[in-house]
Symmetry: C2
Subunit: 362 residues, 2 copies
C-alpha cells in the first residue's frame, strides 16, 4: 500500500510535467501523495477499494477542492470496477451507495459533489455494467486530465504578467498538491519559469495550518524552483525592503464583483501589496466563480481553536484560552490587479471583465 519515495519518483519522471501528481489512476488503482506525511516524507499510497479513498479524503491524505473532486470521481471508478452486479439496476445501486459514502467525507466541498455527479451521470446512461465500467473509468481519467489542462492554460495566461527576475510572493498552497497536478497560482509560477524567465518565490508559512511551509515550500523545492520561506509576520518587512515584485494567490470563491475569498491572511497580504505598489494577482479556474452571491451572503467558516493553540501536536498557548480562528478572509476588488483564469485574465473593473470571461460581455 505504500510506495517507496524512490519508486514513486521514478514514476514521476515519465509524466507530461514533472510537478507532483497529487492523484492519478494507474493500472486500475488510485495512487495519491499522502499529504499528511509532508514535508517530512514523500509517500505515495495506492487504493483498490473506494471506501479507502473515502477515508483518504476524510483524513486529508488529499485536500484542495480540485484534487478532492477528481479523487471522488476515481473513488466511483473503483466502485464500478468492484461491483459484481450483472444487471444495470444492481450496478447503479452499488454506485449510489459508493457515491453517498464518498460524498459524506467532506459534504461542504462543492467540487466533490460536482465530480461525483459527473460520474453518476455517465453511469446512469449506461446500457450494461461491463461497458459502463469502462466509460466510468474513462470519464474519471478525463476529468483528471482536464484539471491539468485547465491549470496549464491558466499558467500560460498568467505567465505573461510576470517578468524576468521577478520575486513572486505567494500565500497558502494553490499548487500541484491542491489540484491533480501543476496547480493554479503555483501553476502560473511554473509556467513563468518554463517560459524562460528567471524567477524566485517567497512563500509565507500560512499559520495556523502551515500549508506554505509544509506544502508550497515542499513542492517548489521538489521542482527546483528557488523558494524562500518567511513567517507571516515578515510580509510587511519583505515588501518595505524591496524583496517582492508581485504577489499571486489562489482562491476558494470569487464573486461576480471580484471579491475574493481565500485562506486567512490573504487580505492583509493584498492590503500591504497595494500600499507598496506591488501588483496582487489571483489565479483560479472558472469553476471557482460564484456568480450569484454578494459579500453579505458568504459565511466565513470558524475552525477549531486547537489549530492555533498548538503546532504539530505541541501545545504553544495556555489551556482554555479564547481563540479567533477564521479559515478564510475576503479581499475586496480594489486591491486586485488581475484575476487569471483558463479563459483569460480579468482586469478591473471586474464586474465587466468577469462577465466577459463567461461570454456574457458586450
Amino acid at each position: 500500500m505504500v510506495y517507496s519515495t524512490v519508486g514513486a519518483t521514478k514514476i514521476m519522471e515519465t509524466r507530461i510535467h514533472p510537478s507532483l501528481r497529487t492523484v492519478e489512476w494507474k493500472d486500475n488503482t488510485v495512487v495519491m501523495v499522502d499529504q499528511t506525511k509532508l514535508p517530512n516524507e514523500l509517500v505515495y499510497v495506492k487504493y483498490t477499494d473506494y471506501k479507502d479513498v473515502a477515508e483518504a479524503i476524510r483524513n486529508l491524505v488529499v485536500r484542495g477542492a480540485p484534487a478532492i473532486g477528481v479523487s471522488g470521481a476515481f473513488g466511483l471508478a473503483l466502485a464500478a470496477l468492484g461491483s459484481k452486479a450483472s444487471g444495470m439496476e444492481d450496478f447503479l445501486k452499488d454506485m449510489e451507495q459508493a457515491r453517498k459514502i464518498l460524498f459524506e467525507t467532506r459534504p461542504t466541498a462543492v467540487n466533490l459533489a460536482w465530480g461525483l455527479e459527473r460520474i453518476m451521470n455517465v453511469a446512469r446512461m449506461g446500457k450494461d455494467p461491463v461497458e459502463t465500467r469502462k466509460k466510468v473509468i474513462e470519464e474519471a481519467k478525463k476529468m483528471a486530465e482536464e484539471d491539468i489542462e485547465i491549470n496549464m492554460r491558466m499558467g500560460k495566461n498568467g505567465s505573461q504578467l510576470f517578468s524576468d527576475n521577478d520575486t513572486i510572493m505567494t500565500h497558502c498552497n494553490a499548487g500541484a498538491l491542491a489540484t491533480v497536478a501543476y496547480g493554479t497560482a503555483l501553476g502560473v509560477i511554473r509556467a513563468t519559469k518554463e517560459s524562460g524567465k528567471k524567477i524566485r518565490v517567497i512563500a509565507t508559512e500560512t499559520r495556523p495550518v502551515m500549508q506554505g511551509s509544509r506544502l508550497t515550500a515542499f513542492e517548489l523545492k521538489h521542482d527546483g524552483i528557488d523558494v524562500s520561506l518567511i513567517p507571516d509576520t515578515a510580509v510587511g518587512y519583505s515588501m518595505a525592503n524591496g524583496l517582492v515584485s508581485k504577489v499571486i494567490v489562489g482562491a476558494d470563491r470569487i464573486l461576480r464583483t471580484g471579491h475574493v475569498y481565500n485562506k486567512i491572511g490573504t487580505y492583509q497580504v493584498a492590503l500591504m501589496a497595494k500600499q507598496h505598489g506591488i501588483p496582487f494577482y489571483v489565479a483560479a479556474p472558472l469553476s471557482t466563480f460564484d456568480m450569484k452571491s454578494t459579500p453579505k451572503d458568504v459565511v466565513i467558516e470558524q475552525r477549531k481553536a486547537s489549530e492555533v493553540t498548538g503546532v504539530a501536536g505541541r501545545k504553544t498557548a495556555p489551556d482554555d484560552i479564547n481563540v479567533i480562528n477564521p479559515a478564510f478572509d475576503m479581499t475586496p476588488p480594489e486591491l486586485i490587479a488581475g484575476i487569471i483564469t483558463e479563459a483569460g485574465v480579468a482586469r478591473p473593473p471586474f464586474e465587466e471583465s468577469i462577465k466577459k470571461l463567461f461570454g456574457q460581455g458586450p
Copy 2:
C-alpha cells in the same frame, strides 16, 4: 532550586501588584519565572550563584530588555555577596570578573550593559567590601523597584487614551514578563483595567517565537484580563470585521524622528490599523529612545532559520529550505498615533514632541 507553583503564587499575593514578578531579590537569592517552561508550567527558579544567573540570561529563562538589565544587576549583587575578598582591590577584581561573564550572555542588549554599569559604579565608589556589598544589593533592588514605578507611571499616562469597552490588539509580549513586573504595553492595559474601564485584548501569536501565545496570553489570563488569541494571519480579518478599537505594542528602539523598531510583524499591524482608522500606540520607557541614530544606521538582526522551519521541536518545513527571518521591523512615524512614556505621551509631529519629553523642547 524549583518552587512549586502553589508556593510561588502565595509569594505573589503579598506584592504591590498582582501581575507576575519576573525577577526579584528575596532573602539574598534571585528568584525568576522560568519563561522557557511557559505556558505549560509556571515555575519559579532560585539562584544563589551569579554564574547561574548568567546561564539563565543566556538560556532565555529571563528575556525582555528591562528584565535582563535588572537580572544582570542582581547577578552582580550575588557576586558581591559571594566574594570572600577582605580588601577593596580583590573585591573589585571579583566584581569585574562577574560583570564580564554576565555581560557576555547577551552582548547586544543595551539594557544589560546599562544595568551592570550602574552597579559597577556603586562598587567602585565603595570604601570597604562589607559596606559596599550592602550598597550594591540596595542599588540592584532600587533598580527593580524603579522599573516597576516607570511602568506604572507609563500605564497611568497611557490609560487615558483608552475607553470603556475598548478591544485592544497587542503584538508580541511587552508585558510583566519582559520587565520586572507590570509591563510596558501590557502595563498600560493593566492600568486601563484598574481605572475601572472594561476592556478586552486580542493577542497575535507572534510567529516565529510565539511570545503572544506563550507569554502575553499566559500573563493576561493569569491576571484575569479577557484575552483572545489569533494567528498573525487574522489581523486584517479582525480589523476589517470591526473587532479592534485600538492597538498597543512595546518597542525595542525608538529614534528621535519617531521611527519605532519592534518585533517582526509590528509594521504590518500598524499599516493595517492606519487603513482601518484604528489608533496605533507604542509604550516604552525613555531608556528605549536612541536620540543619535537615523533609520539607515539601524541594522536589523536576522535570526536562525530553525525558528521558522519548526515549532517546539517539531519540523514544519522541508530540510534545507531558504528562510528570511528578521527579528525586528521598522514602523514609520506616520502610522503611529502616540508614544506613551513615563514622562508623558508624545504625539505627532514626533520630532518635536519627543524632544519635549526629554526636556529639550521650546
